[in-house]
Amino acid sequence: MASDVDAVLAVLEGAGFERLPKPLVVAGSTFDFDAAAKGTGVSHDLVLVAASPSAPRHLTRLLSGLSRTLDQVSSRRPVSLVLLGQTPGERTMTVLEQHARVLPIEIEAPDPEQIRKAIAVLMPLTLPSVTARGQGPLLEVTTRIGAALSSEHKALVNAALVGPDEVRDSLRRFIDGAVEAADSDEGER
């Protein structure tokens, strides 16, 4: 279970959280959570990590104590509790949720991805980067043609900037050109 706590901490640290020394000391008081971390930069979350308690009451007391302490020092830090192991009963959960955002991880030995998913709300969203959104659609076409790409391909592709009629016209002119060059040959003969 200790390794699970470390795993959670590792994910948190990876997301820019700062591990806090154990035991957690808030306004001079000590709180015996399995682990704690705080946000840095634009985040000021306080994240507590607790393995599923054999005695739920201990955890609820611990959390409500922390909550009161924070209130007393007018701290506006939002508190999240990562709860490892089996989710406690509903009553416990209700009490816990009154003091913190509870992020349960019921899976045993969760992998980092599962942890990330469970604590996602604390992390920035992964938005598609500009490269993932792709280059211009027409550039994508020419890329796909690859080494075969010629000025003929390009002329047809560029016509798409104007519209389908222009593409069609370009195609017509292109094909016309194949046989119309012939007409002038005819004339020369």
Binding site: V25, R76, L122, V141, R144, H153, L156, A160, F174
Partner: protein
């Protein structure tokens, strides 16, 4: 934070908000609280109106919604939003006035920002519950809002333009329809092919003809004794032509022909000679001619002088010396006799006329006497009576003064009138007598003239004597002519006989001459034909026949040879012509092949270009599929899943777009769910609870906002967590913080629950230096000192040692 799009809103008499309120919005997060009915939604509506110029959710509901916007009892409302210069349409915040059916003034945002705000930034309370339906709602043929968004996101317009524009390249028949020149080239190529095939056929047939003509020439030349020397048809034809020129025998043939013609002509002459009298009669004719001449001579000696004398006498009398002498004599005698008779008639007439003249002269005397007396009576008496009449008024006579009644019962005047009348009648008689006198005189004159004329016509004695002697001479000649006539006739016969005998002789002599000439010509022909001359026993006709037969045979032999030469020459011509034709067609075949090659080349080029176009089409299709796949997977589904999972971490069904596999231009958008196992589930409406369905909608809204470049980086929610439980609210708050702090979106949230407001105020507190939170409380606190507006700034947290 200088990049916050929304800065403030000033609202006057708008919906539930009476009076004027200015609300600051220049913080990363603005939290708006108001119990139900305090105008929380009015603020967000006013904000939408001020920013975009309309309130979409209200317009959807009622097109004339502007009439209801002013505060109850007010005519109009005004709203003014202040926004960052980056998004502002005007330098000064424009004031918008609404009321009745009008909205005056310009919205704060420019057109792009307006649209983006309406569609991607502001989620009103009404829309949240119906979001999935609204997104997928299609009016008529218009695409749904979602489809429009996805299409814009996909940027497939150019690819579809490319695909649809190049569609014809996938089908050669369609390509031909597109490019008229290509269709024409196809026709030309087919034409060229058929031209070539025709030319080849022509070439074959020309070659066959040539070989036929060569065979014929070979045969004809063999007949003339020519053997081919050099190989090759041209050389053969040329040698043959040379040979034919060398064996020409035109003169010989002409000579034979002339001889034959001469013989034919001679045959004609012979035929004519056979029709003439036989030569044996020649001596007989000669003696007959001598005899007839002698007879005529004798007749001349016996009667010639007498007859000559008779003729000279006739001539003296001016009569014809030959011919109808007796008739002439008779006519002459009759004329003299008629003259006598006529003279006698004239003489009788003279006598009668003389008697008539005597009578006439007597009558004339009588008439003249009567006329004289009448004239004497009439003239003076009538004039005297007329004078008297003027003096008569009664019956007393002015001459004698006697009463007339004594002698007559008639009145004297009347009597005088009667007398005058009678005297007038006498005049008429005189007139008649005068006429009679003239007539008698005229008759007398005529008769006298006639008498003179008749007397002139009477023959005198000498004339009568001459006529009588002439008549005697004529009568004498007539008698002599009757005696001489038979002699004259005999003489004429003699003369005629002599003439005829002479003519016969002349003709027979001519025939003999002709026969002689014919024989000579036949001899000449015999010589020319190298045949024997006339045999003694041979009749001339047989002689001719023999020669004619030889000549005909010679002509026939020569013409057969000529014909052979002519035929051979014809074949030489035909061979030469065929050679030329074969050569000419060879050129045509070359041209046709060249033509076909040319057109086929062009069509090949067109096909190559078609392949280029198809390559582009294929690349466009594949790019399209890739983009669709990428956009749906990365831009839409991953973000949606990410947002939804944050809000509903325990939900095993996650809403997602079905990824269109069809390459059709029109995308069919389908929203489904995906089970955590990866399997596709049913639609969110079927698979999710009401709360999670709301979450699905809210997360979709956020996902769509995040899927594109934020034109306006803000999100405005009106009571988004109404039906959420505690867990979801905590998750939502976490999401808002992430959006605000990590993704720099300005967030405005309106809530109506105090507890929730308090929770969010805490949860969304400023987290770092410069971070701020504005909370606005509507309702009672609006009248407080701070008008319910609090600006929270970041304070270093001392609770946890760093």
């Amino acid at each position: 934070m200088t990049d916050l799009p929304l800065r403030s809103i000033t609202i006057s008499d708008f919906r539930k908000l009476e009076g004027t309120r200015r609300l600051p919005l220049d913080a990363p997060i603005v939290l708006l609280y108001g119990a139900n009915g305090t105008g929380k939604t009015s603020v967000l509506s006013a904000l939408e109106l001020a920013l975009t110029g309309e309130i979409r959710s209200m317009r959807r509901h009622d097109a004339r919604y502007t009439a209801h916007l002013p505060f109850h009892g007010q005519e109009f409302a005004t709203v003014t939003a202040q926004v960052s210069d980056a998004f502002s349409a005007a330098t000064q915040p424009p004031i918008m006035t609404v009321g009745g059916s009008r909205i005056d003034g310009l919205p704060a945002f420019g057109p792009d920002a307006r649209r983006f705000y309406s569609e991607r930034c502001y989620l009103d309370q009404v829309s949240l519950g119906q979001l999935l339906e609204l997104y997928q709602y299609r009016e008529g043929k218009e695409e749904s809002a979602l489809a429009r968004f996805v299409n814009e996101l996909l940027g497939l317009e150019q690819l579809d333009a490319l695909r649809s524009g190049l569609d014809d390249a996938n089908n050669y028949a369609r390509l031909r329809k597109l490019s008229e020149p290509l269709a024409e080239a196809e026709i030309q190529a087919k034409q060229a092919e058929s031209d070539l095939s025709r030319a080849n056929k022509l070439s074959e047939s020309a070659k066959a003809e040539l070989s036929g003509h060569l065979a014929q020439l070979l045969r004809a030349m063999a007949g003339l004794g020519f053997e081919p020397g050099r190989p090759g048809p041209e050389e053969f034809a040329s040698d043959a032509a040379e040979f034919l020129r060398s064996i020409e025998s035109r003169e010989e043939s002409a000579e034979a022909q002339r001889l034959s013609t001469t013989l034919v002509a001679l045959g004609g002459k012979l035929e004519e000679l056979l029709l003439r009298p036989s030569m044996t009669r020649l001596d007989e004719a000669r003696s007959m001619a001598v005899e007839a001449a002698a007879a005529h001579k004798r007749w001349q000696a016996d009667h010639g002088s007498e007859i000559a004398r008779f003729r000279s006498e006739l001539a003296e009398l001016a009569l014809p010396a030959s011919g109808a002498i007796s008739v002439a004599l008779e006519d002459e005698i009759r004329a003299i006799d008629e003259r006598y008779e006529r003279n006698q008639r004239v003489a009788a007439e003279v006598v009668t006329l003389e008697a008539k003249l005597i009578d006439g002269r007597a009558i004339l005397g009588t008439v003249e006497a009567q006329l004289g007396s009448a004239l004497k009576q009439a003239g003076s008496l009538a004039a005297a009576f007329a004078t008297l009449r003027e003096f008569v008024s009664d019956n007393t006579c002015p001459v004698c003064d006697r009463d007339f009644t004594e002698v007559s019962t008639t009145h004297l005047g009347l009597h005088l009138d009667q007398k005058i009348s009678e005297l007038t009648d006498q005049g008429r008689r005189i007139q008649a007598l005068t006429q009679q006198q003239a007539s008698v005189r005229a008759h007398l004159q005529g008769d006298e003239q006639k008498l003179t004329e008749l007397s002139g016509r009477l023959l005198d004695t000498s004339q009568l004597g001459t006529a009588a002697s002439r008549r005697n001479l004529l009568n004498d000649l007539r008698v002599r002519h009757e005696q001489l006539q038979p002699l004259i006739v005999a003489g004429v016969d003699h003369l005629a006989n002599a003439g005829r005998a002479r003519a016969d002789l002349a003709e027979l002599e001519a025939t003999a001459d002709e026969e002689n000439r014919v024989r000579m010509e036949l001899d000449a022909a015999a010589q020319a034909l190298r045949s024997s001359v006339l045999q003694t026993s041979e009749p001339l006709v047989e002689y001719w026949r023999r020669l004619a037969s030889i000549a005909a045979a010679q002509v026939s032999q020569l013409s057969a040879r000529e014909a052979g030469i002519a035929e051979a020459r014809t074949f030489v011509e035909l061979v030469l012509r065929s050679l030329k034709a074969v050569e000419g067609i060879g050129v045509t075949v070359g041209h046709a092949a060249q033509h076909m090659f040319l057109w086929n080349g062009r069509i090949e080029e067109a096909k190559r270009r078609q392949a280029v176009a198809r390559q582009v089409h294929t690349a466009a299709s594949s790019a399209r599929a890739a983009i669709v796949q990428r956009v749906f997977t990365k831009s839409l589904n991953e973000v949606w899943r990410s947002v939804f999972s944050r809000l509903a971490p325990r939900e095993i069904f996650v809403p997602a777009f079905g990824i269109p596999t069809s390459s059709k231009t029109a995308l069919e958008l389908k929203i489904e769910t995906v089970h955590s196992s990866g399997e596709t589930g049913g639609s969110p409406q079927m698979m999710l609870s009401a709360g999670n369905l709301n979450t699905a909608a809210l997360s979709l809204f956020v996902a769509l906002h995040l899927a594109v470049d934020p034109v306006v980086p803000c999100l405005v929610f009106d009571d988004p967590v109404q039906s959420m439980d505690e867990v979801h609210i905590a998750q939502f708050a976490g999401l808002i913080r992430v959006l605000s702090k990590f993704h720099r979106r300005q967030v405005v949230i309106a809530v109506h629950e105090r507890a929730l407001f308090d929770y969010l105020s805490f949860e969304l507190s400023p987290a770092f230096e410069g971070d701020e939170l504005i909370t606005i409380e509507l309702g009672e606190l609006a009248d407080a000192g701070d008008r319910g507006i609090r600006r929270l700034v970041w304070l270093p947290d001392q609770a946890i040692a760093s």
